[in-house]
Symmetry: C2
Subunit: 158 residues, 2 copies
Amino acid sequence: MKHQDYMKIALEEARQALSEGEVPVGAVIIKDGVILARAHNRKEAQHDPTAHAELLAIQQACRQQKDWRLDGCTLYVTLEPCAMCASAMTQARLSTLVYGTLDEERGAVESRGRLLADNLYNHVMEVYGGFCEEEAKNLLEVFFKSIRDRCNQVSLAD
Amino acid sequence: MKHQDYMKIALEEARQALSEGEVPVGAVIIKDGVILARAHNRKEAQHDPTAHAELLAIQQACRQQKDWRLDGCTLYVTLEPCAMCASAMTQARLSTLVYGTLDEERGAVESRGRLLADNLYNHVMEVYGGFCEEEAKNLLEVFFKSIRDRCNQVSLAD
């Protein structure tokens, strides 16, 4: 399977998040062609600001491996990671990050900071952006449009 | 109670981590004088690179409040937070951070970056460092000395 194929699975997770009323972001972790973890954003459902797709996937993969080291693993995520998730990836010693669309507001890999380039934890990760970018972006636009529509309905009803 | 008194509770948590063979870091979250959460680093026990004292305390406080927003809360932690934890704090909208000793290797508040000053998430947090600094630092030194001694014993036995 290619990067795009794994990103399609991350997109399935993002669609699941959308159906649950969460910001649609999905993540998958792979090692030697085997899926160790797949997860989607569950911040609202879990009342947990740390329940981003990437953190949940890292936690799941570590439980599966019974090890906090994820050397040799690749994490696919539909949205550029925030500083919390990018930092967690380096601490998990992930080998590769592949992400979809940019997060101009919170992205800490390319948009609002370059945390992985800073080599903060003496760990070097390969990073590739822009995979399945349009699909990932469209899902986010659908979500934020639905939020705006709901706000407009509420203000019209006032 | 004063900042120092809450930091003493965070230090109790750090001592608990030390007794479990973990890097000794402890954290406490307070709102209106009430302790919402207390936790210590459990990275090795949980096989989880995200199981830092601060993240566990944030998750615990959010479960207790049934809300991912921790407005009006203060987080006390014995060691300067890393980028993962500092970013999680802003996303949880914590009001105040009080920390103990500096982490020259990974600290993302003052030592190796100034993530909270960058205002990455349009959230302003009050930050105070250096509380109970010596006690927090001593615990870390005891831990790292024990690791070095163990390594030396192993190499002597070779």
